[in-house]
Structure formats: structure tokens, C-alpha cells
């Protein structure tokens, strides 16, 4: 089984190159940030596959990645508001 999981992990990792291309070409900042989110979700998947192929102790890394993946997105949306201290929902309504 572990050979199959390593194969899946390799293919999944390769597919993330598409996200790298999206970060490179944009065009908007939101596009780049979304591609980083995709690498986060994909990275969680790769960690889980590595854990299944090798040692389940790795799974804590997947939990931490999944927990913190959205934090960069929150910091991004905050940074887009005036002085980096507002709420995107407020500013879109007002």
C-alpha cells in the first residue's frame, strides 16, 4: 500500500505546479492568494499520504497546516482594507 500512497503523493505534488503558475500569472492579488490556499489544501493531502505511507506521527503536521492555512488569507483580506484594520464586508457595503 505504501507504494501506492507515495505514487499518489507524487502526482498530487506535481499537480500543485499548476497553482505555482497561477501565483506567477495572477492577474489579481486575490488570484495569487487563492493559489496559495490551494497549495495549503494540497499540502495537507500530501502530508496525510506521507503519513499513511510511513509513520502516522506525521499527522500532527497536517492538523497544524489545516489550522493555519486560512490565517494567511485573513491577513491578506485585512491588509486590503484601509490601514489594514477594517473588515472587507464593511468596506464592500459602504
Amino acid at each position: 500500500m505504501s507504494g501506492w500512497f507515495m505514487f499518489l503523493a507524487t502526482v498530487l505534488l506535481l499537480s500543485l505546479a499548476g497553482a505555482l503558475w497561477r501565483v506567477w500569472s495572477g492577474p489579481s492579488q486575490a488570484d495569487r492568494m487563492m493559489a496559495a490556499q490551494l497549495v495549503g489544501t494540497g499540502g495537507v493531502g500530501v502530508v496525510l499520504l506521507l503519513a499513511a505511507a510511513g509513520d502516522w506521527a506525521m499527522i500532527d503536521v497536517a492538523v497544524v497546516l489545516a489550522l493555519l492555512a486560512a490565517f494567511a488569507a485573513v491577513a491578506f483580506v485585512k491588509a486590503q482594507t484601509p490601514q489594514g484594520a477594517g473588515d472587507p464586508e464593511d468596506d464592500a457595503d459602504g
Binding site: G3, M6, F7, A9, T10, L13, L14, L16, A17, A19, L20, V23, W24, G26, Q29, R32, M33, A35, A36, V39, G40, G43, V46, V47, L50, D55, A57, M58, D60, V61, V63, V64, L65, L67, L68, A69, A70, F71, A72, V74, A75, F76, V77, K78, A79, Q80, Q83, G84, A85, G86, D87, P88, E89, D90
Partner: protein
């Protein structure tokens, strides 16, 4: 199959690093750096360094991203054109070649792994990395926590006179029933449990004060970004006490060993008595976690600012 995985992983890491170096806008470079951090933590898993992978995941995916994106939000969108490329490229290529040659020329060695693994249970931690951090090389860790404090002093020293005494960073304004506020309510309890679990597990499994502290710091920053709680003022006595509590407890334990050594052979500065080593290490780790979490959160939040 594992070799194919490692080759693909290295290609992705190097690709992300090159893109971060040459990307057209600084925002793209920062996003490439976040992606790069995720790939690097996969590389640590491949090296069986689970503790390092945890630290890199928490720093790379969590705190570094927040730090960079917040800084970019404060900057004008101007880009500075890079200088001539020839000399830097030669310097970088030369250094990479020299390092690569040195790696291949290194003599084989079994390292210190077996020595540490044999001695770790007696030192109070089954996780050999925790044993190295808090027992065998405790001196480094003690000084490191003081380096963190020094960096925070440096950041606070950069605040303008009018803003001194305010909380770190700007006051946050968030729609009370919005998605951001809701997200800020759901995630922190889970994050706090994960952070404390990492510290608790750190004596016997991957994890420890630094990884747990980083997760808790990220959670604290999320609570502040979601506007749910105001960070304490930089002049607050309670905040300052928490900042120094970890290093103080660590130092206190170290001096108890030094005093004991006057009439007890085997005791020494920074040497924990073997009978209580496990509970002492856990106690030191808990205090260190608290201090590390608050210090890192304050570092990333930046100097106190007013709206002017």
C-alpha cells in the same frame, strides 16, 4: 518511488524559491514565499524531522505569512527595480556549487542520534528533540528565549513617541456579525486545544514549546484581527510579566541546580535533578510556551501605532 517524490519535491521547492526571488511584484514574491514554506515543511517530513516540520508549518504557513502580508498592507504599491544581475548570479551560483561539493565530500558519520536516544529517558523527555532542547542543550534554549525578548524590545523601540503606551498594532474594526468575526470565534478554541496538545505531547511525541507557542501566537493574532479582543497595552505590567515569565522560571530552575551543587554532587547550573526531571521539564515548557506565544504574537503585531 520515494526518490521520484523527493525529486519532484525539490523541483517545487527550488521553483518556488526562484519565483520568490524574481517575481515581478513584491506581493507575488510574498505569496511564493508562503507556498515555499509549505513545501519546505514537506521536505522536513521526508527527513524524518517531524518536530522541525511542525515548526516550519506553524511558522511558514502561519506567522511569516501574516507578518509579510501585514507589512505589505502598510506599504505603497511601488516596486524598486533590481540592480545588475551578473555579479549576484555569479556569487549565488558559486556559493551553491561550493556548498554542494562540500556536502558530497562530507565524511560518513552516525551523528549523535544513538547517544541522545540512550540518554533521553533519564533526562525527563522521551522525545529526543525535546531532551536536546530542554536538557542537553538547555543553555542554547535559554539564550534563545532571551533573543526573542531582545527582538521584541527592538520592535517596541521603533514606536513613535505619540503612540507609546498604546496596544501593539492598530485598533481593529470588524462588522460584529460578519464572516470574519464568526471565523474568529470558531477557530481559536480549536487552535488553543491544538497548541496545548502540541506542548503536552512534546515530551514523548513530536511537538514542544516552540511549535505549541507558535500555534497559540497565530490564534492570538487571529482573535485580534477579528476584532474580538483588544491586545493589552505595551506598558501593561501583566503583559510584561508574561513576557519574562518563561525565561525567569527557566533561569530559576538553573540557579536552584547551582545552589544544590554546593552540598550535592551531580547537581549543577542548568542540570535538572533526575528524579523530578519529567515534571520539571513539563513545567518549564508550559511557562516557556506562554512567554513564546505572547512574544511571537507581539513581534508579528509590530510596534504600537496610533491612527495618525
Amino acid at each position: 518511488m520515494t526518490l521520484a517524490f523527493d525529486l519532484v519535491l525539490c523541483a517545487m521547492i527550488v521553483g518556488a524559491a526562484i519565483c520568490a526571488a524574481v517575481a515581478g511584484t513584491i506581493f507575488a514574491a510574498a505569496v511564493f514565499f508562503i507556498v515555499y514554506g509549505i513545501f519546505v515543511s514537506l521536505a522536513w517530513l521526508r527527513l524524518d524531522a517531524f518536530d522541525v516540520a511542525l515548526a516550519e508549518a506553524a511558522m511558514g504557513a502561519g506567522l511569516t505569512g501574516i507578518l509579510l502580508l501585514r507589512a505589505l498592507g502598510r506599504m505603497p504599491a511601488s516596486e524598486d527595480r533590481p540592480g545588475p544581475a551578473l555579479a549576484p548570479a555569479l556569487a549565488g551560483a558559486g556559493l551553491a556549487l561550493a556548498l554542494g561539493w562540500a556536502f558530497l565530500a562530507l565524511p560518513e558519520s552516525a551523528g549523535l542520534g544513538p547517544v541522545v536516544r540512550n540518554a533521553a529517558p533519564g533526562a525527563g523527555a522521551e522525545n529526543p528533540v525535546t531532551a536536546v532542547l530542554l536538557a542537553f542543550r538547555a543553555w542554547d534554549t535559554l539564550l534563545e528565549t532571551i533573543v526573542l525578548l531582545a527582538a521584541l524590545l527592538g520592535v517596541w523601540a521603533l514606536s513613535r513617541d505619540e503612540a507609546w503606551g498604546l496596544p501593539p498594532g492598530l485598533p481593529q474594526r470588524v462588522r460584529p456579525d460578519g464572516v470574519l468575526a464568526g471565523f474568529g470565534r470558531i477557530l481559536p478554541p480549536i487552535g488553543a486545544v491544538v497548541g496545548v496538545y502540541l506542548v503536552w505531547a512534546g515530551t514523548s511525541r513530536p511537538g514542544g514549546a516552540f511549535q505549541g507557542g507558535t500555534v497559540l501566537a497565530a490564534v492570538a493574532l487571529l482573535v485580534s484581527m477579528a476584532g474580538l479582543a483588544q491586545a493589552p497595552r505595551v506598558t501593561s505590567g501583566a503583559l510584561r510579566l508574561v513576557l519574562v515569565a518563561g525565561p525567569l522560571v527557566f533561569l530559576g530552575m538553573a540557579f536552584i541546580g547551582a545552589v544544590l551543587s554546593l552540598w550535592q554532587p551531580g547537581a549543577a547550573f542548568l542540570a535538572l535533578p533526575e528524579a523530578h526531571a519529567k515534571s520539571l521539564i513539563l513545567g518549564i515548557e508550559l511557562m516557556l510556551t506562554l512567554s513564546i506565544a505572547v512574544t511571537l504574537a507581539a513581534l508579528v503585531a509590530g510596534p504600537p501605532e496610533d491612527r495618525a
